[in-house]
């Protein structure tokens, strides 16, 4: 046989073999098949990232799969907010969890999405090195603090604390950093503090090098970090599917608030099957103490969002006073109020 023919046959065999293996091992056929169903049968793709603010998403998926009605939507784990934003814009995802100011900014820029529900309350903290030079907030003068994004409530939280301590914004250097990197950066001294959502404060605490300087609620009662957004076209054309999604999230929130065994069980299955994080880390974040992160009430309230919007304008990440009704649709949250927690016992067989 001629060598060029041999090479060609080799390439074809190789491509066939590797494609077959990939389709068998890595492709989620149910999610792929969903896109070819009739539109009224299609499930929503819901984007999340592995942080505790988005915990209700995997919890809903896990429990609903074990209920009689089956799963409600197709969750999809992302690694960062910019990718979620792009997937939403291009309609590859129909819903997703993201930091509240980013959702407001996107809507203000004309992206057709609406906030329908919250991810959680509280659950963010400012963390410093345990034996480092920063022991009080004013010690941060002239030092560096990391925040997840310019469009994050964690950044706005630092500004609230600045006001409280009469520290000027230019006195603290703020850098944007991917959440997974901050605990390591703090450990080696690349930053002096970070303001992040869980489980990253817990990670620094568990590692023994970080200490919580303050929790979000100390300077911001009713603090919100992440919200659930849905594309406007889905809200208009298939409100019943959006309602089902919000109901499911609401039931998971109530389920998580039933006590320690529920939270420990969630830490276990979410850590192992969804976030691929050590369940001990999530357990720390969810139970240390129990109200470190709260999953009720998750209805969006105007006054909370007005606070966020005004702080955004004040700190230069929003250029107009967009109204609450323009970027939030409260009807799904109102309907979901009659929901009860999932009847799913913690410790049920997996």
């Amino acid at each position: 046989m001629r060598p060029s023919r041999k090479i060609l046959i080799g390439v074809v065999l190789w491509t066939g073999a590797i494609s077959g293996l990939h389709f068998r091992l890595n492709v989620d056929w149910s999610a792929l098949g969903n896109d070819y169903l009739a539109e009224n049968l299609r499930k929503l793709h819901v984007a999340y990232i592995p942080v505790t603010c988005h915990l209700t998403c995997p919890v809903t998926d896990y429990i609903s799969r074990r209920s009689q009605s089956g799963n409600i939507f197709l969750p999809r784990m992302f690694q960062g907010f910019p990718e979620i934003k792009e997937a939403l814009i291009s309609n590859k995802m129909q819903a997703g969890f993201m930091v509240a100011p980013m959702a407001i900014a996107l809507r203000a820029q004309g992206v057709p999405i609406r906030i329908v529900y919250l991810g959680h309350r509280y659950g963010s903290a400012v963390v410093v090195r345990k034996d480092g030079p920063v022991q009080t907030f004013p010690d941060l003068r002239g030092r560096t603090i990391a925040v997840p994004s310019r469009f994050s409530d964690e950044r706005l939280l630092v500004f609230r604390a600045m006001k409280h301590f009469a520290v000027k914004p230019e006195e603290i250097r703020m850098v944007e950093m991917a959440p997974p990197d901050v605990a390591g950066a703090l450990a080696v001294g690349a930053i002096d503090a970070f303001s992040m959502g869980e489980p990253y404060p817990s990670q620094a605490e568990m590692g023994g090098y970080g200490k919580v300087l303050f929790l979000a609620r100390e300077y911001w009662p009713d603090y919100i970090s992440c919200v659930l957004v849905v594309r406007q076209d889905v809200i208009d054309q298939r409100p019943e599917v959006v309602q089902e999604l919000v109901d499911g999230i609401a039931r998971s929130g109530l389920w998580l608030e039933q006590g320690r065994p529920y939270r420990e069980h969630a830490a276990d299955f979410v850590g192992r099957f969804y976030y691929r994080q050590d369940p001990a880390l999530l357990r720390w974040a969810l139970t240390n103490p129990l109200d470190r992160v709260m999953y009720t009430p998750l209805s969006p309230f105007k006054q909370d969002f007005d606070t966020i919007r005004d702080l955004m304008i004040e700190t230069g990440v929003l250029d107009r006073a967009i109204e609450f009704e323009e970027y939030v649709d409260t009807r799904f949250a109102e309907q979901a109020r009659s929901q009860a927690a999932w009847s799913y016992e913690p410790g049920s067989p997996q």
């Binding site: 190789w14 890595n26 992302f78 291009s90 997974p180 080696v188 994080q277």
Partner: protein, 252 residues
């Protein structure tokens, strides 16, 4: 002497590993893992079945992105090399596109192809397409004019000239270009997988970052990427050594 040609590289790698071990052991805060922890990390991935899954996913994406680029870029590059006018018309545009890193295309790739294999394959395709086009084009241009003149003197038609003179003449240079492009494709797969795919070695790295203090798996991902890159390069080199392709090198 040839018998022990494996010895110097092995010794060098061993020195690197020992230096790594010492440096890891001497850190003030134990964050960067040593070689042993990384090896255990690889073992853990293998036990969970993730090792095979992730390697397959990465190799799958590189295979498709790279082969699509080979299938389109080489005819395109040969054409440009053969037709001076086409080259003069298109080359400036290609030179503008060439320095744009494939990573800069990530947002566009997500908007066009969403999240999944297609976006990653598109990025790998982009990364290998232009280097392959350039090397095919240059390969044609570097053919000594006398080959073509001799061919036409023998009365070959343009089509015959392409198959009988041009194709065999460019093959050795093309192989070097293919090898370099495969290296680039393999480098880009990691970056491509850091966007929203949920498998592959690039995903392993970003996923381990998210998993808290699992820098052993981050470095395990790096080691695996390096090792597979070495295998791919060795495979391409063995193609170069095929007898029928080797004539272009003249020596030995």
């Amino acid at each position: 002497m040839k018998k022990f040609s494996w010895l110097p590289p092995t010794i060098f790698v061993a020195i690197l590993v020992v230096a790594w071990h010492i440096a890891a052991a001497r850190q003030a805060v134990p964050i960067i893992p040593g070689p042993w922890a990384v090896l255990q990390g690889i073992g853990e991935l293998a036990r969970k079945g993730l090792l095979v899954k992730y390697v397959v996913a990465s190799v799958f994406r590189v295979t498709w992105g790279y082969l699509l680029a080979v299938a389109t870029a080489i005819p395109f590059g040969l054409f440009l090399g053969w037709r001076r006018r086409a080259e003069m018309a298109l080359n400036p545009a290609l030179q503008v596109l060439r320095p744009i890193s494939p990573l800069a295309w990530i947002p566009i790739a997500i908007l066009w192809f969403g999240v999944g294999d297609l976006a990653a394959i598109f990025l790998i395709f982009l990364a290998s397409f232009l280097p392959l086009t350039m090397s095919a084009m240059n390969a044609v241009r570097n053919i000594p004019a006398i080959y073509l003149q001799a061919g036409s003197n023998f009365g070959l038609s343009e089509r015959q000239l392409m198959w009988k003179v041009l194709y065999p003449a460019v093959l050795p240079q093309l192989l070097v270009g293919l090898r370099l492009a495969l290296g680039i494709a393999w480098m880009v797969v990691v970056a491509a997988e850091m966007i929203a795919v949920n498998s592959g070695l690039g995903f392993l790295i970003i996923d381990s970052r998210n998993a808290g203090n699992r820098y052993d798996l981050v470095v395990a991902g790096m080691v695996l990427i390096g090792a597979i890159g070495l295998l791919l390069d060795t495979g391409m080199r063995s193609l170069e050594r095929l007898r029928s392709l080797r004539w272009g090198y003249g020596t030995d």
